[in-house]
């Protein structure tokens, strides 16, 4: 299954890189959708079935539709190339250094078992997530629902045209 991981990882990184380099906002949005679906595949490989479906339903299917809607309604075109405040090459070098550090830190300081850990048979199923959410995480669950309500009211209020 390693080949599946490498293909999905390549697609997600490709989507990310395309997103931050395209000048057309819509191309960026679709590259991000590619990246999100690839990450959903990675979730499925990590035996997280519910999170896999949720990623496609919520992220790729709802949030990105909202973003694309906004881009189309505002009719955003290809942006003109502007001068960046810091030179590009320094930035790229810095990012490579940071990624290498991240890799290195993980290699050195991981005392987490590297091989596959045996998991329960219904690991990642909806039932287990539900039990946790209504058990240990009941309070955050309720708070999230209030937060979503606040967000909806806020959005309606913000985007209303003043008559």
């Amino acid at each position: 299954m390693a080949i599946a991981f490498y293909i999905l990882a390549f697609l997600s990184i490709l989507g990310g890189v395309l997103m931050v380099t395209r000048k057309n906002p819509l191309s960026s949005a679709f590259s991000l959708i590619l990246s999100l679906v690839a990450v959903a595949g990675l979730f499925a490989m990590l035996l997280a079935e519910f999170i896999f479906i949720l990623q496609i339903l919520v992220y790729a299917g709802a949030i990105m539709v909202l973003v694309i809607f906004t881009i189309m309604l505002l009719n955003l075109k290809r942006e003109e190339i502007r001068e960046t405040p810091v030179g590009k090459f320094q930035v790229v070098f810095l990012i490579i250094v940071c990624a290498a550090c991240a890799f290195g830190f993980i290699e050195i300081f991981s005392d987490i078992p590297a091989a596959d850990v045996a998991t329960a048979e219904d690991f990642g199923s909806i039932e287990q997530v539900g039990r946790l959410m209504l058990g240990d995480y009941l309070f955050p669950f309720e708070v999230i629902s209030v937060l979503l309500l606040v967000a909806i009211v806020g959005v309606v209020l913000l985007a209303k045209r003043v008559i």
Partner: protein, 425 residues
């Protein structure tokens, strides 16, 4: 051997919706003409044989293949060309989790009759439905045309608005059958309520069924919700600028979406592959009777159709003076041969007990036939409603979706929970 089974299942899921699609195009035109009291298309012919409009399918395919696939000026070529494929791919992908029969137990191994036995079952269909939106929105925007953009945005808004009642209506089914997997839901519908009523989804969730049916019409962009492609309103909506095979892909996407929604409604609310009052064990136990019934039904059906063709041939003898008189023979003779073969098989194997694998296959065939019959009924229902109801205006559509159906689906969930709680006391 495993790969062979997977390939066969994939072929089944690929071919059956496409066959339904072809038949559906013909049924739409002839059915609409039947509802509107006219004759419908009956001119296309192969060597003079007209076959009541079936040849029009071939004529349509040939026309769409040979039409010029124009790309208007100023469009983004990549998006313009990708858009038809996105919708069609995702709508065909959703068929992977729909079971068309119960698990086949043969030679000690269990073969589930769905392509992907996911644990998250129905949520997969909801997720893919939410991705289909991109086909419409991309087509509308990439066409560099104001009407197409308006149609694309309207279609997107309609589809994402009606995804919510679609999902919420199914929550009642999840609560009643205590599972998300489609095969388990269909199996749960085999039980009997009060001794005689099959526990079908429509019986335990009538309000949920109505909500889901309405939301399914809206998701398939189908009348009375077909404002995004309303012909008299905004030319042709998001597929205005498409011609030739690309337009054919949009056309096919719409019909395969109808077949998909019909399959889901049949699976969740009408018992799927369940033959009423006959569970899989009963079918396997009485396999010889079931097999005789199957042979008899198809044999008698073919014989009746052949006799009708013979009567038709006698009636139109000498009226037209060309090949149309021979149509009855063209259709009737193969059906007569099929009827003779089936009735011969019926009498030859009457009473002979099938082997265990044979009994399983007989159960499989009868359940598949039941599923296809239910699916066909709902496809016809979609066409029936299209030609009976006027179109919703856009603000009426939005008001119905957000202000009526979402509160009703919450009420449905609440009442379902209450009833389950009271029953389990």
């Amino acid at each position: 051997m495993d790969y062979l089974i997977i390939i066969l299942k994939a072929l089944f899921i690929w071919i059956v919706p496409l066959i339904f699609l072809l038949v559906l195009i013909w049924v739409e035109r002839k059915g609409s003409s039947f509802i509107q009291d006219r004759t419908g298309p009956n001119r296309a012919a192969i060597a003079g044989v007209r076959l009541a409009g079936l040849v029009h399918l071939i004529a349509d395919v040939v026309k769409l293949l040979w039409k010029e696939m124009m790309i208007p000026a100023g469009v983004n070529r990549l998006f313009f060309m990708i858009a038809p494929f996105i919708g069609f791919t995702f709508v065909l992908l959703s068929f992977a989790v729909i079971p068309w029969a119960d698990t086949l137990v043969v030679a000690g191994r269990e073969i589930p009759m769905q392509l992907a036995t996911l644990n998250v079952g129905v949520l997969f269909i909801l997720a893919i439905t939410s991705l289909e939106v991109y086909g419409a929105v991309l087509a509308g925007w990439a066409s560099n045309n104001k009407f197409a953009l308006l149609g694309g945005l309207r279609s997107t808004a309609q589809m994402i608005s009606y995804e919510i009642p679609l999902g919420l209506a199914i929550v009642g089914i999840f609560m009643t059958f205590e599972t998300v997997q489609l095969n388990e839901i269909v199996r749960g519908q085999g039980e009997l309520l009060w001794g005689f009523l099959p526990k079908w989804g429509v019986v335990v969730q009538p309000l949920g069924f109505i909500l889901f049916l309405t939301a399914a019409f809206a998701e398939a962009n189908r009348n009375p919700f077909d404002l995004p492609e309303g012909e008299s309103e905004i030319v042709a909506g998001f597929h205005t600028e498409y011609s030739g095979m690309r337009f054919a892909l949009f056309y096919m996407t719409e019909y395969v979406a109808i077949v998909l929604m019909a399959a889901i409604i049949a699976t969740l609310y009408f018992g799927g592959w369940q033959v009423p009052w006959m569970t899989t064990e009963k079918l396997v136990a009485h396999a010889s009777i079931v097999r005789s019934v199957l042979f008899a039904t198809f044999g008698v059906g073919a014989a009746v159709f052949a006799w009708w063709m013979w009567v038709f041939t006698k009636r139109v003898r000498g009226r037209f003076g060309d090949m149309r008189e021979k149509e009855g023979i063209v259709l009737g003779v193969p059906c007569a041969i099929a009827a003779v073969v089936l009735l011969y098989l019926l009498f030859r194997y009457y009473g002979a007990q099938p082997s265990e694998a044979g009994a399983g296959v007989v159960a499989l065939v009868s359940q598949t036939v039941m599923f296809l019959v239910k699916m066909a009924f709902f496809c016809w229902f979609f066409i029936w409603v299209r030609w009976s109801l006027p179109r919703f205006r856009y603000d009426q559509l939005m008001r119905l979706g957000w202000k009526t159906m979402i509160p009703l689906s919450f009420v449905n969930i609440f009442v379902t929970g209450l009833v389950i709680l009271l029953i389990s006391r």
